[in-house]
């Protein structure tokens, strides 16, 4: 029992004397919880609190566009963006901004949409007067609204936004339909009233004629001609009138086939885009990158083992530059990272489609760009590992700090939850995460069909991060007591 309590006291003393370890032990989970909770806030609140930035291009500038815009404004869910760099956003610019991932959603109302919708409404309102109207209705073109999405957008998010936008569009359709109904109603009533009135007049004339004939026969007596006959009325005029009006006053515009506007959902693409966004296209690069950054654990671990075993001091007496020593480590771990990525890609191409209904990963044809992105991500991950390895004073510290930081950087980088679904402060904070630079590069290549020109800024950031981390690691490595 003494041994047990002795061990307890020893472990307690070791723990409370490791101040950085204690900070990591208690502060890091708190930070983790905060970051995860904040970043997922939107996922639970759907699209209610944080506004979705939506590019709105209204080339129609009439009722349809105006009603949709009013609805978007009144819903409070959307932040309508109509200008970029103080210029009105064109359809081409919107496509460019959305396909590049700068914005996730756009709505395009083409010129003449309202007129088309009104024509369609007129055709629907009049459809039952005679059979030619049905033909007319089917031949009337629909207004055409385009919902444009970032190719890298998550399906759940897209569905949620689409449902909201479709409800708004339906409201606009109904508004147009109602307006047209009241515009057409007086003419329609006049037109439709003509038939029963004529018929009634004719019937009344017929009745008058009958009455006249009867009176005439009575008065003429035996002089009356043979063909002078009385035909008694066989219908109740009141019922006839109702039936006539009722038949002609039917309006049916409730079915789906009778929408005024066709809503097209498209993924914004650059001109040569061929890749279709899928879960595999998103998840394979995201989690490959996540795994890549976990290189921090073995890398930092190996450095700290060297330090604790004395090989670190021996290395420092060798006639080689410290850059040589760290460079050697970097090369080995770059190979490890690239192997990791290769395995993940092969999994996406061969294993996922084999064991599920999901499609295989498509990599496009920018192999060189993918290689550059992969190697830059590997460098950034290794830079981070070297930094943690030279900053930490024990393996447990490096392990805890390293893994917590990777998880936090991954959350901020949008590995688990897309950045556009995060609250605004976190969206800005995500810009400092190397994992975001990496995932953006891979999504540009795998989903948006980008190339080296598209991803150059993120590649630069990743490599700069590596250089800065390496300089700091070297500084820590050579620092003599």
């Amino acid at each position: 029992m003494r041994g047990f309590w002795g061990t307890v006291i020893k472990e307690m003393l070791l723990l409370i004397r490791d101040i950085p370890g204690l900070i990591l032990l208690f502060a890091m989970p708190m930070v983790l919880i905060l970051v995860i909770t904040l970043s997922q806030e939107n996922a639970y609140e759907s699209i209610s609190d944080n506004k979705i930035q939506l590019l709105f291009i209204d080339n129609d500038r009439k009722e349809l566009g105006l009603t949709i815009e009013k609805g978007l404004n009144e819903s409070g869910y959307f932040d309508i963006i109509k200008t970029f760099d103080n210029k009105e956003i064109s359809v081409e610019k919107a496509n460019e901004l959305i396909s590049s991932g700068a914005y996730q959603v756009g709505i395009i109302v083409p010129e003449g949409s309202t007129l088309l919708a009104e024509d369609r409404a007129d055709a629907i309102i009049r459809f039952s007067r005679d059979s030619t109207q049905i033909i007319n209705r089917n031949n009337t073109p629909l207004g055409d609204i385009q919902l444009s999405f970032d190719p890298a957008i998550r399906d759940s998010y897209k569905n949620s936004v689409t449902a909201s936008l479709k409800r708004l569009i339906q409201a606009a359709e109904f508004q147009i339909l109602l307006n047209r109904f009241f515009v057409l109603l007086p003419d329609e009533l006049n037109e439709q009233a003509k038939v029963p009135i004529k018929r009634e007049l004719s019937r009344q004339l017929g009745l008058m004629e009958e009455e006249f004939n009867r009176e005439l026969r009575v008065r003429m007596g035996e002089y009356a001609p043979e063909d002078l006959k009385i035909e008694a009325p066989d219908r109740n005029p009141e019922i006839d009138l109702k039936e006539d009006f009722g038949k002609n006053l039917e309006f049916d515009f409730k079915t789906d086939s009778e929408n005024l506007v066709r809503v097209r959902e498209v993924y914004a693409k650059n001109q040569e885009a061929v890749l279709e966004p899928t879960l595999v296209q998103n998840n394979v690069p995201a989690f490959a990158l996540f795994a890549m950054f976990f290189i921090v654990i073995p890398l930092a671990g190996s450095m700290l083992t060297e330090r604790s075993q004395g090989t670190y001091n021996r290395l420092r007496t060798l006639p080689v530059t410290y850059l040589t020593i760290l460079g050697g480590k970097t090369l080995v771990y770059v190979i490890v990272c690239l192997t990791q990525l290769g395995i993940m890609i092969l999994t996406g191409i061969h294993i996922i489609p084999a064991i599920s209904d999901l499609p295989a990963l498509e990599m496009g044809d920018s192999y060189f760009s993918i290689f550059i992105a992969a190697i830059s991500c590997a460098f950034a991950a290794i830079g981070f590992g070297l930094l943690v390895g030279t900053m930490s004073s024990s393996q447990s510290q490096a392990g805890m700090f390293g893994s917590f930081m990777v998880v936090i950087l991954a959350i901020l980088g949008g590995i688990f939850l897309p950045v556009y679904m995060m609250p605004e402060p976190l969206r800005y904070l995500s810009m400092i995460s190397p994992l975001r630079w990496g995932i953006d590069s891979f999504l540009d290549l795998f989903v948006r069909n980008g190339d080296l020109v598209t991803i150059w800024d993120n590649i630069l950031r990743l490599n700069l991060f590596f250089v800065v981390a390496l300089i700091l690691a070297l500084r820590n490595f050579v620092k003599r007591k």
Binding site: Q309, N313, R314, T317, P319, K481
Partner: protein
């Protein structure tokens, strides 16, 4: 003879500790000397060796090796020296040969010459039978011998040995002594720290005793015994000079 290593006015303090570890060391070590550095625990022996190897920053004073100032990652000095630290500074998951090869490569020895040198090293310290054993699977004696050879793979002119026989059996210890004597007889300068006074008597051509950051004796073992006629051996001289009080 000109000093190979010259230490002048050396002081060393560690951050957060106001008491300096070395309080003004002046020392000269000549080429070909088997120089013993003795002192009680925390006297500053390892600190002095670490400074001479460029591992620690000098607070005050200067250290020159071959006329060149130590520090600032001086490659010329690094090529001259070999450090055998107290701890087994080897990679436990690598074999004896793999460790030797790694350190040999780091000293820039060419492949053929390196393989020849590795063979020599294995032969000299009787490591052949254990050449392909991982360090983690080797006994303490083999680890010590491998640790020694990794510091000598490049045949340095100056060797710093910090308690190299710690925890080694008599047979291994004897083998290590023989090898070091051979190297010294061939002209290698050896700076050696130990707590074993017999080692000091049998190996060292000159002994320096440091205590509490100062040099308190600097002479040959024979001269020290002459200077303290009441002492039967170097151990007694050491106790007489440093006292019986326990050290931290």
């Amino acid at each position: 003879m000109q000093a190979l290593i010259k230490v002048s006015g050396l002081k060393k303090s560690y951050k957060g500790n106001p008491m300096p570890v070395l309080k003004g060391i002046d020392l000269e070590i000549k080429r070909g000397e088997f120089f013993g550095l003795l002192g009680p625990n925390a006297a500053g022996k390892t600190t002095l060796i670490s400074i001479m190897c460029g591992l620690l920053k000098i607070t005050e004073g200067k250290v020159h090796i071959h006329g060149q100032e130590v520090g600032n990652n001086n490659f010329a000095i690094k090529q001259l020296i070999g450090l055998i630290p107290q701890e087994i500074a080897l990679y436990p998951t690598l074999t004896v040969v793999e460790n030797l090869r790694f350190f040999g490569q780091m000293y820039g020895i060419r492949r053929k010459a390196l393989e020849k040198r590795i063979e020599e090293c294995l032969e000299l310290l009787k490591l052949h039978a254990h050449a392909d054993k991982r360090i983690s699977n080797c006994s303490g004696g083999i680890r010590r011998r491998a640790n020694l050879m990794c510091g000598l793979i490049h045949s340095p002119e100056i060797i710093f040995l910090d308690e190299p026989t710690l925890g080694v059996d008599a047979q291994s210890m004897n083998l290590i002594y023989e090898y070091l004597r051979k190297l010294n007889s061939e002209g290698t300068t050896i700076i050696y720290t130990t707590h074993y006074m017999r080692e000091a008597e049998s190996l060292f051509s000159r002994v320096t005793i440091i205590d509490d950051g100062f040099i308190i004796a600097n002479s040959t073992p024979a001269r020290l015994l002459e200077e303290h006629p009441n002492c039967r051996d170097l151990g007694e001289v050491f106790i007489k000079l440093t006292g019986r009080e326990l050290r931290d």
